[in-house]
């Protein structure tokens, strides 16, 4: 039963497309010795959407018997030196934002999932599972922030800014009227996101605007670019959107360089930092994925309520059972 779980997991893992130039190695887990696991409580099935497919996970309480190498997420450095974004984003900011905030999320995440059933899953899976349809489990904050920050560093580059081209520009113009209109709306969203959070450009395919509801009559025009504001650690993966670009609007992202002047930070981000190349690559993957799952018909399959079973996630302690 452990074998089945693992092999089905590996199978779906191979379908995980890269979302950017450096993504292949990102979610690599350390090689793991298969362990025998003893269930001491009923198995439960958790279902969630990942990349358009309804994914089932069997989670059981694990009492590891023999040498399992624990997976741990790594703190990936940004794909440029820490001072490479000067003067638009200072070295000092990178030192704290990546070197402390992001690092702490990863470290605390690893501590939280060590020895639990979440150990060994990909980061995206941990995020989706722990989102728990809005009733977030304790590990969500660290997992989602770890994901968000890695995505953020890859969304910017030295010598960034400018304008996108190709399919990305075409879709921006289709869905926002013009590139300038898009920029205005994105900036307005980012400046009006009260409190801590993120603002995203995402590709939404075949989804309605409610959580995980599949569009019953999908059309090409329904596959579109959307600007989304999220609070705290939430990201659009939880609605099965494909994130393309993000700006971190937590104060720690800009305070050392801009103090309270968030608008100035957002302007600088758009004019000098954003990596349209990365966004384009992510869009290509997202569009390909949308086409693929349409062809597989996984979208329109069974949407009979995945809700008949309340997901139960067993963590390492009986007292943390969620009913």
């Amino acid at each position: 039963m452990m074998m089945t779980t693992t092999s089905s997991f590996l199978w779906s893992c191979s379908l995980l497309p890269s979302q950017g130039p450096n993504r292949q190695t990102q979610w690599k887990r350390h090689e793991k010795v298969l362990s025998f696991s003893l269930s001491c409580s009923p198995k439960s099935t958790v279902k969630f959407y990942m990349n358009g497919a309804l994914v089932s996970r069997q989670l059981s309480r694990k009492v590891a018997v023999s040498g399992v190498v624990r997976a741990g997420f790594e703190l990936k450095p940004p794909p440029y030196p820490l001072d490479a974004l000067e003067p638009h984003m200072s070295r000092e900011t990178l030192d704290y934002h990546w070197g402390k905030h992001h690092k702490t999320y990863v470290e605390n995440l690893n501590k939280q999932i060590l020895g639990t059933d979440l150990d060994g899953l990909s980061l995206e899976e941990v995020v989706l599972l722990s989102y728990n349809r809005g009733n977030m489990l304790p590990v969500f904050n660290n997992a989602a922030q770890a994901w968000n920050h890695e995505f953020f560093w890859e969304s910017i580059q030295p010598g960034g800014g400018g304008k996108p081209s190709g399919d990305l520009l075409r879709l921006i113009e289709r869905d926002f009227g013009s590139f300038d209109d898009f920029v205005e709306r994105f900036k307005a969203a980012a400046s009006s996101n009260f409190g801590s959070g993120w603002t995203w450009l995402a590709y939404k395919a075949n989804r309605l605007d409610v959580a995980n509801a599949v569009n019953p009559l999908p059309k090409e025009e329904d596959k579109k670019l959307v600007i989304v504001k999220t609070p705290n650690a939430v990201n659009p993966l939880v609605w099965d959107y494909s994130p393309l670009l993000t700006i971190d609007t937590w104060e720690h992202a800009y305070y050392l360089d801009f103090e309270n002047r968030r608008v100035e930070y957002i302007n600088t981000f758009m004019e000098k930092l954003v990596s349209w190349e990365t966004v384009s690559t992510r869009l290509e993957s997202a569009m390909a994925r949308a086409v693929q799952r349409e062809q597989e018909g996984t979208d329109t399959e069974d949407e009979e309520n995945p809700d008949d079973e309340e997901p139960e996630v067993y963590l390492d302690d009986a007292s943390e059972e969620v009913d």
Binding site: Y96, K100, H101, T104, N141, F194, G195, S196, G197, P231, N232, A233, W250, E251, H252, Y255, L256, E259, N260
Partner: protein, 230 residues
């Protein structure tokens, strides 16, 4: 004292008031940034003067300005009977109005050491704290832990539940005032745990900020509020 040109502001407000009346328009009550009762640097080393200045002159001022704008727009929407316009403004009002309310309390919650900042509460409040939390240290520990655990932006509060007649510790997100957690809650002490409240000095180490802020908490003010509301 922080130098502010109070006179010109009052005069302008007065002119606006008069001209509105002459035109037969009902003018709404707008708000102004309250003065700090101490110098920006007076809370050092617990909170740096740099932070106090930006916190007061930029953040709080922005809440006041935006709150006034939102209220103006609300007034217009109400007068026009624009229901969806009214609803649309609610989040801006909650956020900016809350920011103004919370920060106005916050400045009074703090005091320089030589003016009693950090001195433990005596009298009725001190007794109530000991009763409900065992000791002041117990209360401080609880508030600091909850403040540190708060994800994102928000506040940690010591409040008085007027109805149940007991002290409570609670947190609110973003700029939600304590009253959003319960209509009978009166804020006694609020600690701002938004990153702007500590970042320039403590960076990502919020627990360090929480350890030090108690050295400048003005329990005298909290006691007064407590006595008044009991």
């Amino acid at each position: 004292m922080a130098i502010r040109s109070v006179a010109s502001r009052k005069t302008l407000a007065g002119l606006k008031e008069t001209s509105s009346r002459l035109l037969g328009l009902r003018s709404i009550q707008t708000f102004t940034l309250p003065d700090l009762p101490y110098d920006y640097s007076a809370l050092e080393p617990a909170i740096s003067g740099e932070i106090m200045q930006i916190h007061h002159q930029k953040h709080h001022q922005a809440y006041v300005t935006n709150y006034n704008n939102a209220l103006e727009q609300l007034d217009q929407a109400v007068n026009k009977g624009d229901a969806s316009g009214v609803v649309k403004l609610q989040s801006a009002i909650k956020f900016n109005g809350g920011g103004h309310v919370n920060h106005s309390i916050f400045w009074k919650n703090l005091a320089p050491v030589k003016e009693g900042g950090g001195e433990p509460p005596k009298g009725a409040l001190g007794y109530a704290i000991d009763t409900h939390f065992g000791s002041l240290e117990g209360l401080v520990k609880k508030m600091s832990a909850e403040g540190a655990a708060l994800q994102g932006s928000g506040w940690v509060w010591l409040g008085l539940d007027k109805e149940l007649k007991k002290l409570v510790v609670d947190t609110t997100a973003n700029q939600d005032p304590l009253v959003t957690k319960g209509g009978s809650l009166v804020p006694l002490v609020g600690i701002d745990v938004w990153e702007h409240a500590y970042y320039l000095q403590y960076k990502n180490v919020r627990p360090e900020y929480l350890k030090n802020v108690w050295k400048v908490v003005n329990w005298k003010y909290a006691s007064e509020v407590y006595k008044e509301c009991k």
